[in-house]
């Protein structure tokens, strides 16, 4: 036997056998260390969340960074760190952290949403839109449909704040189509549709809500506002009045109700009115417009009695002077065009004074709206 070969065989055998305890020892050491790491990670996470909850985001950032190291960069830890970074106003680092997460989970709804919020905060419309879309279409762990709706709603809200009503409208239309019946978001979406300049869709949404619950305060109010924007003052008054019975309206809504009421009561073109009532309304409108003209001329420094003046208000005043003697009930009965002439003058006065002296209020506003909507505002 070759003694060298025997010795080598023996040494190799010893080495191979020694692998077992070596593996066992290393395994033990590693397991103990990983346990310690887990404990430390959880501990620092708790500290970080406590600091975040106590309004100490900078401290939370340090704590959560430490937690992230011990957690071997677990995504959940990184997300908490991102929250802290955002609160501590470190958007660049937050973005870098989220980008890392996105590389690992490109379809994650949560991560895309965080990135969208960062971009929104920075005012980057393109980036925000991209990430919001990705979040809406992304993967969510639980309650995916609800999360997607919430994200879309958030996106639309941000677009409205940014003065992007058209894009907000698109999101809200998609959202309204996706809402299940009875969703608590219906009225909110309706309100936002009104803000986005889509009162008709909002009206349909509110109608659905009111069909299920005719006394829903928010839906009544929203329906009233939508109807007002659509020029359906009768519906607007109806809904707002009903809303007023369920809760106290805000001053703006109260004004809206009053204006709607005024439109309806001042409209001489309303159906099923007697000629006397038409005459009375038109004379009333004439008087209101005349007073508005005088007030606005005084504010604007225009002399309505100056025949040499070429100011529009002077011309309107002259026309009113010519028309005024004719404003008697018999004249209205005889001359079917007189009503149109009077109301045309009234509308011109209200339009001109709105342009010169600002948006009117009360009855003047009602007459202005009446002039814009035509003769279709019915009682």
């Amino acid at each position: 036997m070759d003694p060298v070969a025997v010795k080598r065989g023996g040494v190799l055998a010893v080495l191979l056998v020694a692998l077992v305890p070596a593996f066992a020892f290393t395994s033990l050491v590693t397991r103990l260390y990983h346990q310690r790491e887990r404990v430390l990670a959880e501990d620092w996470l708790r500290r970080g969340e406590a600091a975040l909850g106590s309004g100490r985001p900078d401290e939370a950032v340090d704590d959560l960074r430490t937690a992230l190291v011990f957690s071997h960069e677990a995504p959940s830890f990184r997300l908490r760190l991102v929250d802290a970074l955002v609160q501590a106003n470190h958007p660049v680092e937050a973005h870098a952290q989220l980008t890392t997460l996105l590389d690992q989970q490109p379809g994650s709804g949560t991560i895309n949403l965080q990135l969208a919020r960062l971009a929104a905060r920075a005012g980057d419309l393109q980036e925000a839109a991209r990430y919001y879309d990705s979040a809406i279409n992304g993967i969510w762990d639980a309650n995916a449909e609800e999360r997607r709706r919430a994200v879309r709603l958030e996106f639309a809200s941000w677009l409205l704040q940014r003065g992007e009503p058209a894009r907000a409208q698109a999101q809200l239309i998609a959202l309204s189509a996706d809402l299940p019946p009875g969703s608590p978001l219906e009225t909110q979406v309706g309100q936002m549709l009104v803000d986005a300049g889509s009162p008709r869709r909002a009206s349909e949404l509110f109608a659905d809500v009111l069909r299920r619950n005719p006394r829903d305060p928010a839906a009544l109010e929203g329906a009233g506002v939508a109807a007002f924007q659509l020029g359906d003052y009768a519906a607007a008054r109806r809904h707002l009045a009903a809303a007023a019975q369920t809760h106290e309206l805000s001053p703006g809504r109260r004004d809206m109700l009053e204006t709607a009421t005024s439109v309806l009561t001042l409209n001489p073109f309303a159906r099923r009115l007697s000629s006397a009532e038409r005459s009375r309304r038109s004379r009333s409108a004439f008087g209101i417009a005349r007073a508005r003209l005088s007030e606005c001329a005084q504010t604007a420094g225009v002399n309505l009695d100056d025949p040499e003046s070429t100011d529009e208000m002077r011309a309107l005043s002259a026309t009113a002077d010519q028309l005024e003697p004719q404003l008697r009930p018999p004249a209205f009965a005889r001359d079917s065009d007189l009503l149109d002439s009077v109301m045309t003058l009234v509308f011109r006065v209200e339009t001109a004074t709105a342009a010169r002296c600002g948006q009117p209020r009360g009855a003047d506003l009602a007459l202005l709206l009446l002039g814009r909507e035509g003769r279709n505002s019915d009682q």
């Binding site: 070969a5 010795k7 080495l15 290393t26 190291v69 071997h72 890392t100």
Partner: protein, 567 residues
């Protein structure tokens, strides 16, 4: 009648096979050792400095100093060979000590480096891992009674395994060992090194996970003009590398010139200084990988990045020069990452539209410093590609690394590892010099062909050709692209004997054919085969029958003499 039991014949395992098996075992043990080493460092860091990323006062000052004192005493009193990074020590084992690394050194390196790095000294674990792996390999090789030649190769195998496990990058480890330690690509050792590195990496990933050292963001070139920025990074990296080398050289020389008793205290003083720096800038303590990650996440301003790079240079120079055991890899990567990120931050202020992610710059910065400071250009390129997992980054890496390497080499001819070995009084072969040494080739020595005979020539015909030529020996071309020689004297003798019409094929056809050379072969290839032959044919590689020249021993020696004179 029973059959006698057969004798068990233990056949000798061929050493080549034994070597491969050994490489596998070395890789596994090196991997296990490095796993324990890394965990020990982390345990010590948590125990000594606390678990917070930013250690609190007074720990941050007291711990590095106290640990430095302990390390200084232990290293000098018990383990005198543990100082330094470990790379030169492994090279010394290969070239001076026939692959011998005392096991005591391995134990000492393990303990002292762990304490040093864990307590905050600005050093890294990779180089010590390299030496630990090499030391284990040396131990196994000795126990297996390997031949001297194999013993010299076994240490680099362990070194590659240790480095691969520490870095979690087998390709980088293999390339570094080949580029810096053994300087050869011979197939025999390459296979063993690869096997050891891969097995060590597998073991390391088994226990510590396969996560990369850094989470690198996806790389993309924002604009082609961005390559200019990477070139600038390379230039800056080259000069920074130069500064680092000069600082280490200066500081180490000064510290080693001090009385020997001060050597016990130098690691403590370095630790104290680093601790004081760490009060404000704790990022410079330890290996610093977590902070490299932070830099990649754009956590620091450009001013902070530059400050970190500069302070880390100072801290590393102090730690290393004081004799504290530990490596230079991690600090080099740290400095490079900070530098790269700083260049990115500054470029963004000037050219925001064409600047890529900061993580990419930090990554390329790491490679740049690796090439400029450690002077391992090939390793640095593959290291970055391996770490990032993205091949598209190779172009900026190559640009930046090459520039840094050229600048560093232009102003500091001697690489850092060579400088350190010279300071220790050891002359180790410089792999860089070997790579760049001009290779003398056969074409330098070969002479033109005057006369060539063929096997079909008769003696008379041959004599008629060679008579006028001054040479004594001539080539004979035989069938099958074989060559042999014949002397003028032999031809004359054959003619005198009456064999004038005998073809040369019959005279010399049974001689063993001459080995042939090619013009591009190194000159020493000619020396190995010429023996006592009068001359050798130099043939074309594409046409073996086409003779381009001949070479004699005198020609070869003359070429060497001329080469030496030119140098």
């Amino acid at each position: 009648m029973t059959t006698p039991p057969r004798r068990l014949h233990i056949k000798s395992l061929p050493e080549a096979h034994l070597f491969l098996l050994l490489a596998l075992v070395i890789g596994i043990f090196a991997g296990l050792s490095v796993v324990c080493f890394r965990i020990l460092i982390e345990w010590l860091r948590i125990w000594l400095l606390g678990s917070a990323l930013l250690p609190a006062f007074p720990r941050v000052v007291v711990v590095p100093a106290a640990a430095g004192l302990a390390v200084g005493i232990i290293a000098l009193a018990l383990f005198p060979r543990v100082s330094g990074s470990g790379v030169n020590q492994t090279k010394a084992a290969v070239y001076i000590y026939d692959g011998y690394i005392p096991f005591r050194t391995v134990v000492g390196k393990f303990i002292t480096s762990a304490i040093a790095i864990g307590s905050g000294q600005s050093l890294g674990p990779e180089d010590p891992s390299l030496q630990i792996g090499a030391g284990l390999a040396s131990l196994f090789g000795r126990k297996l009674n390997l031949s001297r030649e194999k013993m010299r190769l076994v240490a680099p195998i362990g070194a590659a395994a240790g480095l691969a496990a520490a870095f979690n990058s087998p390709i980088t480890a293999v390339l570094f060992v080949i580029e810096e330690v053994i300087g050869t690509w011979s197939a025999g050792v390459l296979g063993a090194i690869l096997l050891a590195a891969v097995s060590a990496t597998v073991v390391s990933q088994w226990f510590l996970g396969g996560e990369p050292l850094f989470r690198v963001p996806a790389y993309h070139l924002a604009h082609s003009s961005e390559l200019i920025a990477y070139a600038i990074l390379g230039a800056i990296g080259g000069f920074i590398s130069l500064a680092m080398v000069k600082l280490v050289m200066y500081l180490r020389t000064r510290l080693r010139a001090m009385p020997r008793w001060s050597w016990y205290l130098q690691p403590a003083m370095a630790g104290l200084a680093i601790g004081i720096i760490g009060l404000k800038v704790p990022q410079v303590m330890g290996a610093g990988y977590d902070y490299i990650d932070h830099a990649m996440r754009e956590q620091y301003t450009w001013q902070m990045l530059i400050g970190l790079a500069l302070l880390k240079i100072v801290a590393t120079a102090m730690s290393f020069s004081s004799g504290t055991p530990g490596g230079l890899f991690a600090p080099t990567l740290f400095i490079g990452a900070m530098l790269g990120a700083a260049v990115c931050a500054v470029e963004r202020m000037v050219l925001p539209g064409i600047t890529g992610p900061m993580g990419a710059y930090a990554l390329i910065g790491m490679g740049t410093l690796f090439a400029g400071f450690l002077r391992a250009p090939m390793t640095s390129v593959f290291m970055i590609v391996e770490i990032s997992g993205d091949y598209s980054i190779v172009l900026p890496v190559m640009i930046s690394n090459t520039i840094a390497y050229l600048i560093a080499r232009r102003f500091q001819h001697t690489a850092i590892f060579e400088v350190l070995s010279h300071q220790d009084g050891i002359i180790l072969p410089s792999m860089e010099e070997q790579r760049e040494a001009a290779v003398q080739r056969v074409e330098l020595a070969m002479k033109g062909v005057d006369v060539v005979c063929t096997g079909a020539d008769t003696v008379n015909q041959a004599l008629a050709r060679v008579n006028a030529a001054p040479a004594e020996h001539f080539l004979v071309a035989l069938q099958g692209d074989h060559w042999t020689t014949i002397s003028k004297q032999l031809l004359i003798s054959l003619q005198a004997e009456g064999s004038s019409d005998v073809p040369l094929q019959a005279v010399v056809g049974f001689d063993p054919p001459l080995p042939t050379l090619h013009p591009d072969q190194p000159l020493d290839a000619a020396l190995r085969v010429i023996h006592d032959r009068p001359l050798l044919p130099v043939v074309h590689r594409a046409h073996a029958s086409r003779l381009v020249g001949t070479v004699t021993l005198e020609d070869v020696l003359e070429a060497y003499r001329m080469g030496a004179s030119a140098a």
